[in-house]
Symmetry: C2
Subunit: 84 residues, 2 copies
């Protein structure tokens, strides 16, 4: 069993209106030291052992569904969980 | 200057319909080895040096705006960036 953490972020060059809205909210709450906010997605997947390699599966899932590779970058961490 | 990464996840006991929808999509794409998907938010904040401690500021921002502590957990990582 694997626990996979996937982080999907907008590419540097892509505007992030949601992040800007959060930044403006923080400024209106007097957190003026906040210079930039970028918002992304964080996913935790639980995946069963399989004949295919976990890296191959995760990369494929990211490129086909979890991330839009035109405007987003992704990275992931795989952690093996020992079943009890 | 600090780069702060904030991860906000739904508490274990809270249902995650968005995660379920993604799981169902993955199953329909034949990734039947995926047993569970939980979706959270990932935020990158750039924060200037300040007289107040960075940990205090980040915790306060998370509890007041970035996370809904009734149904969500948060954790964060602070990384100091040396200005050029």
């Amino acid at each position: 069993m694997f626990k996979v953490k996937v982080y999907v972020t907008l590419r540097e060059s892509v505007l992030d209106p949601q992040g800007n809205a959060v930044k403006n909210s923080l400024h209106s709450m007097e957190y003026n030291e906040v210079k930039d906010v970028r918002i992304g997605k964080y996913m935790e997947l639980t995946i069963e052992d399989n004949t295919r390699e976990i890296d191959v599966i995760v990369k494929e899932m990211c490129e086909r569904l979890l991330a839009n590779v035109v405007i987003e970058d992704y990275r992931y961490e795989v952690e093996e969980v020992v079943a009890q």
